[in-house]
């Protein structure tokens, strides 16, 4: 990425990262402390639960792949201003890649995993070539439709994808020095991959490439006038996000031990979107919180209600209505509300002149400033 020309001054984007300006050092330190705490919890997780056989796969590993795919969605939304509903499709294509090369062609997993990731990333590149021609709401619709193309292809092309039955078995193996068949080993390997991906996303956002992306999100015209090839940057970002999603797809496929059209169905697309929105579309790490909530709902909601999906939908809408920055933003919202109340208590300001403009950083969805 460092080979990209860095023309002009580095772009400083204000709307999405004002906090770093206001409280520079403290804020950064707080964030890494928080990340450290979350990772520490994730590491200790298998020993904290009463039934590891149940909790590790159903909550832990599911959270990891759901969160990874949702993180790729959030990366695109936060830094490029594009809301893609095809992320689970890229993950699914990568998973089908592993299935096809290992189950159908009999290649070892050590070969088919990189091939799968490559295919998923390539799919992201091809989709990006078409989709970046459209903006904002159109981009959402195109990616949704393309995702459904692949779903209908996957459920019909029996010679490639095995149609409804899918491809199986895709089993974890024992490599002597590591035995991926044990749940703990698989969980920690997945956790390591996820942490590395998170750091990579974070690192990339702070390179000149990442700044250019944010500049394009905020003002594509100005960036084009500065000599940036706006669409090439968007294609690169979508391709990278597809790579992240593809790695999530690897965790997914070895968790399920098979790949079938359900992986890329509309329901899975919505799951990823819900995890992202509930966790917080403005926060790369917050999505894992959303993924945990969804995994917990998935496993426990049926104990007290038959209408699990209705409950999920209600939570989704309530979050969108009242906590647009997701659960990760609730803390900030509460602090702001308290501060506002305190300010109001000191000098009584005229009620009707309260500015109603929403704080940009609070907005759930980065639209970008795309005409």
């Amino acid at each position: 990425m460092s080979t990209l020309p860095n023309k002009g001054e580095p772009i400083t984007t204000t709307p999405s990262s004002p906090a770093s300006k206001r409280r520079p050092i403290l804020w950064v330190r707080n964030r890494w402390v928080l990340v450290g705490l979350v990772v520490a919890f994730a590491v200790l997780f298998p020993w904290l639960v009463d039934r590891p056989r149940f909790w590790i796969p159903n909550i832990g590993i599911r959270t990891l792949w759901l969160g990874t795919i949702a993180m790729s969605l959030v990366f695109l939304n936060k830094y490029v201003g594009l809301l893609s509903l095809a992320q689970v499709t890229f993950a699914g294509i990568a998973a089908y890649g592993v299935g096809y090369f290992s189950v159908t062609l009999g290649l070892p997993y050590l070969l088919s995993i990189p091939i799968g990731i490559l295919i998923g990333t390539l799919a992201g590149f091809l989709v990006a070539l078409i989709a970046v021609r459209t903006k904002a709401i159109y981009f959402l619709m195109i990616t949704l439709a393309i995702g459904q193309v692949f779903f209908s292809y996957a459920s019909q092309a029996i010679e490639v994808t095995g149609a409804r039955r899918g491809l199986s078995p895709i089993l974890r193996e024992d490599y002597g020095f590591v035995d991926f068949r044990t749940l703990e080993v698989f969980y920690y390997a997945a956790l390591l991959a996820v942490v590395l991906l998170y750091l990579l996303c974070h690192y990339l956002a702070n390179t000149s490439f990442g700044f250019a992306l944010q500049g394009i999100r905020d003002s594509p015209d100005r960036m084009a006038a500065l000599g940036y090839r706006v669409n090439r940057y968007r294609v690169a970002a979508v391709t990278f996000a597809a790579f992240v999603a593809s790695v999530g797809g690897m965790i997914l496929v070895f968790d399920r031990s098979q790949v079938d059209p359900d992986v890329v169905s509309l329901g899975s697309t919505l799951d990823v979107l819900i995890a992202a929105v509930v966790g917080g579309v403005g926060s790369l790490g917050g999505v894992f919180l959303g993924a945990v909530v969804l995994a917990l709902l998935d496993n426990f909601a049926q104990d007290f209600t038959e209408r699990y999906q209705t409950l999920t939908g209600v939570i989704f809408i309530v979050v969108l209505l009242f906590a647009p920055a997701g659960l990760a933003g609730v803390g900030g919202q509460v602090t702001r509300a308290i501060r506002k109340r305190r300010d109001r208590a000191a000098p009584p300001p005229p009620e009707h002149q309260e500015p109603q403009a929403p704080v940009p950083a609070e907005s759930a969805i980065q639209k970008g400033n795309q005409q």
């Binding site: 809301l83 078409i130 021609r133 459209t134 903006k135 904002a136 709401i137 159109y138 959402l140 619709m141 195109i142 949704l144 439709a145 393309i146 459904q148 193309v149 209908s152 292809y153 019909q156 092309a157 029996i158 509309l266 919505l270 979107l273 929105v277 038959e306 209408r307 699990y308 999906q309 209705t310 999920t312 939908g313 209600v314 989704f316 809408i317 969108l320 209505l321 647009p324 907005s363 759930a364 969805i365 639209k367 005409q371």
Partner: protein, 286 residues
């Protein structure tokens, strides 16, 4: 019968249903610049309500009207409670309505079950008519085709030739300026949303008379209407008509010549159009 003619007619009748669903969507999008992802839910719910009323009363038309009114009222509720406050945030509206469709899918499954149901049609429609070419073709399909054409023409006339239509068009171009001339744009928005939802419900009754109603069709019809408006161009009624006819024809001919990949072909059409005209066939540049 000549296979080509038969497939073409099937494609056009399928396109008629797509047009009825998509015209509501394109109307809502054209005016409000928001996409309602609950549009497929309106379609399926309309179909189910029409089915219940038509079965209880034995009157198809009553079922269609009842479905349109009921879903229109539901649309009014959704618009007032969930959408109006976030009018300017189109992606948020899309996500909120996606949540609505999630709930709708689940509740409709709970209420109507997973079995296929079909809206009962009057006995006199269950015949075949003789075409000018001498072939015979099911009357119901021809009725649907005519119905779609009539509704399309009426919508076009209302939008382009009446005062109400000029208000809607003015609202599309510049809602702030329209509001400044004394038009209550909020009411216009609400009315358009209700009409769009009611059209989807009506389409559900029409579609449910031809094909069985099944859970999951809300998603399918949402996607097909998205494809239709993307191909035809957002906010344009003639565009929706062209898009719907193309999508209907491609999927029917696809079923004949490449049955496995019929759906894929339909979406390939969309990708093809986008590659050359990102705003759709009759869409204005964005």
């Amino acid at each position: 019968m000549d296979q080509f003619l038969l497939v073409a007619l099937n494609g056009l009748t399928l396109g008629s249903i797509y047009f009825l669903v998509a015209s509501g969507l394109t109307l809502i999008f054209g005016l409000m610049r928001v996409i309602t992802m609950a549009h497929g839910t309106s379609y399926l719910l309309g179909g189910y309500i029409g089915y219940s009323i038509a079965r209880a009363s034995g009157n198809w038309l009553l079922g269609a009207l009842g479905a349109a009114v009921a879903v229109g009222l539901l649309g009014l509720f959704i618009h007032q409670v969930l959408i109006r406050r976030f009018q300017d945030d189109d992606l948020r509206v899309a996500l909120i309505t996606l949540g609505v469709s999630l709930i709708g899918t689940d509740l409709m499954f709970a209420a109507f079950g997973g079995t296929a149901t079909q809206v009962p049609i009057p006995a006199e429609w269950q015949t075949a008519l003789t075409l000018p070419s001498g072939d015979r073709y099911p009357a119901i399909r021809l009725i649907i085709l005519v119905l779609a054409v009539v509704i399309g023409v009426v919508m076009w006339l209302v939008i382009n030739r009446t005062r109400a239509g000029s208000i809607v068009r003015a609202g599309v171009d510049d809602s702030a300026m329209t509001s400044a001339t004394g038009v209550n744009v909020r009411v216009v928005f609400a009315v358009v949303f209700v009409v769009g939802s009611a059209l989807a419900a009506f389409a559900g009754v029409v579609g449910g008379s031809l094909f069985p109603l099944l859970p999951g069709q809300d998603g399918t019809y949402l996607l097909f209407s998205l494809v239709v408006v993307i191909v035809g161009g957002m906010g344009s009624i003639p565009g929706a008509a062209i898009g719907a006819a193309l999508v209907g024809l491609v999927s029917q001919f696809g079923l004949v010549f490449a049955p496995t990949y019929a759906t894929v072909l339909t979406f390939a059409l969309m990708v093809f159009v986008l590659a050359f005209r990102p705003q759709g066939i009759l869409g204005r540049a964005v």
